[in-house]
Symmetry: none
Subunit: 223 residues, 4 copies
């Protein structure tokens, strides 16, 4: 938010009137504003005017880019998740990467790309509005959950075969790997104000619970 105002600082409000922009950029600005609003207050409590105001444009302009509030919402939540997925994918397909390290990277990625950004509100949004927007829920299940679990399953299977898992049955319940991520989101979203959660430690502890300790000295290392 601060950055943005910096960008516009050199022009007064009056000057910014009727400013034409690249449609793609304008669209992106609206989506950003909408996400902020929806994340803050939820779908119903967000007024289109709020979104417009936050995007620095007039009410009507939003409607030049999105036909209605519902579509603004669904296109928003659909579009916001995709980027993360690609990176996760690549973690698996490199077989040289040890599974534990891959999962560790997944958690790191998750912290950096979700927990520490506004994206952390996404789960809340989907959870909150899901029942009213089944298409969104279905999209998330199909595009994010299924794909993520598939990747994890492969990873855990490999780990189990290598004897890395404390509990080899984990390979059959990949959701468990995701559970501390959910916890972290919910905690930081709801309770962080009242009690801090050290997510680094959370994920580290969980990793140590899932995986057997790194063998201090791999086979026949030192005498």
């Amino acid at each position: 938010m601060t950055d943005q105002s910096v960008i516009n600082r050199d022009r007064t409000v009056a000057e910014r009137k009727r400013e034409k922009r690249d449609p793609q950029q304008r669209r992106a600005e609206i989506l950003a504003a909408a996400f902020a609003c929806f994340a803050e207050r939820g779908f119903a409590a967000t007024r289109m005017e709020d979104v417009a105001a936050r995007a620095g444009i007039a009410k009507g302009t939003v409607y030049l880019h999105f036909p209605d509030k519902e579509r603004l919402f669904t296109e928003l939540v659909s579009g916001i998740a995709s980027p993360i997925l690609g990176e996760i994918d690549s973690l698996v397909h490199n077989e040289a990467i040890p599974p534990r390290f891959a999962v560790s990277m997944f958690y790191t990625l998750f912290r950096r790309e979700v927990l520490e950004t506004e994206r952390r509100h996404l789960l809340r949004l989907i959870l909150a509005e899901g029942p009213l927007f089944p298409a969104v829920t279905e999209f998330y299940h199909r595009e994010i959950i299924t794909k993520g679990l598939t990747v994890l399953r492969i990873l855990l299977k490999r780990a189990a075969e290598r004897g890395d898992l404390r509990n080899p049955l984990l390979a059959d319940m990949p959701q468990i790997v995701m559970s501390p991520a959910l916890l972290a989101i919910i905690w930081t979203t709801l309770f962080e104000a009242y009690e801090h959660l050290d997510t680094q430690k959370l994920f580290d502890t969980f990793l140590d619970t899932l995986f057997v300790p790194a063998r201090a000295a791999p086979e026949g290392a030192t005498p």
Copy 2:
């Protein structure tokens, strides 16, 4: 005009099914109806009329028991959690119960009392509406989370001392024990329609991940 009111007076008397009830019971009925509505559609999308209709009463009657929609909501979510807590508490204070069994019971209790009832929507409600009702969030942190974590911490410490935990550091991150419960709620709330999650297996696998396998025969047990 006079005739009319006479006419109406007759009809009105005839129509008065207006069952008076014990105020406490009526209040409970409203809360139940409200919970169902809020759980289904969220705070904003729920109309007071929906609540009244589901409670089988008239719109105005709700206002005889709750001053406004907001209070109806906050009193609702505050009141709904308490009952669970007591049972959990007792699980810990009996030191004869092995920690693993206590956690197992906690999961069983959670499945029976939350997952398999309408209460499973509670988390969604709190998560969804939390930002608009900080008092609710604060209440849940103070009354449920803090107390629950305290109990778990004791339990895990005892488990660690007994060498029951795969990773003794778990004792310092009791939130982890809660994470599969969150996962289960979120999954059943959002994705169950698209893909079934075997929560029994989830919790069992999780237990086996946290705790070292039950020693087949505690040394020198039988003979």
Copy 3:
């Protein structure tokens, strides 16, 4: 309008607030107000608030009786025509009434019940909004036009057989009988302010054009 204010004169505006009425009466009041508004300004230019204000109620109250503006309009125009039809019908079924007299009565009825009341705006409404409300047009064709023409056809046939018509072929074009009525409506609606049209004379002249002059003394009438 004046009459109405007389009715309410004994109560101040403040006193009339939240006045409950017989639903049927309230509905009728709304319809009356709506008709006045629609007739004055057309469908699009009429605001629901105008209707409410003219009915002396609040905006929202209109929606307790009609689901939306469109339905208010269609129910209005559908409901407004029916009463006239009955009377016309009875003109024909009495064979003792000479055709010329029946048509004359039809014109008289039309003047009294349509031209000289607010109903004269009805044609304008239907004509104006017809294309946007095909159901209304269809209704008018089916319920009013078809029935009216059927009656006229019978009447004209009888007249032709009696040798009353200047042009017997008229019996095959009953629409012609209606044409001065249309003219009268259009004139009084649009041009009366600029130039008076004597509708009595219009219909009389038209009658004399359609029908042969009344025989001064039917043969052998008097001694």
Copy 4:
């Protein structure tokens, strides 16, 4: 940002099909488009963008030719009627033309120039929007109605003097001659879809009703 404007400059130039046209022609195109739109949907329901789209130009361009929607409408309806008038006029001033033939020609002209063209919607437009545009109504009365009636009056007077009229009083109510024209417009506009009206027959029948039958053998024919 500079790059961007460069990019746009290129594209813009490429896209400029912006055909300049003779202003009069452009104006006429807009009027034609506007008439089609207004006739189809009425004043209020017609969007300026509809008009522009149908004229194949951009929204803003309309405003280069007409200051606002209202003026577009009034200039349109005022301009559209004039052409017909000239022809009608000439029908009367030739005294050699028998009155019946002149009226017959008037009907023929009316069918060809109004009923069978988009102009048939003009009456609907004026009737529908008249109350909102008194200037238009007044214009029509002054320019079309008064002039038309004057012509008809002369014609009918001449016919009456020649003994051509069944009812000589018609000369004093020239509106009657117009009434089947109104009927034809209204019918074809509203009801043609549901029931066909043979307008040729309508006018023929009416002519035969107004005028005495053409004498089979003029002067001194019979024994």
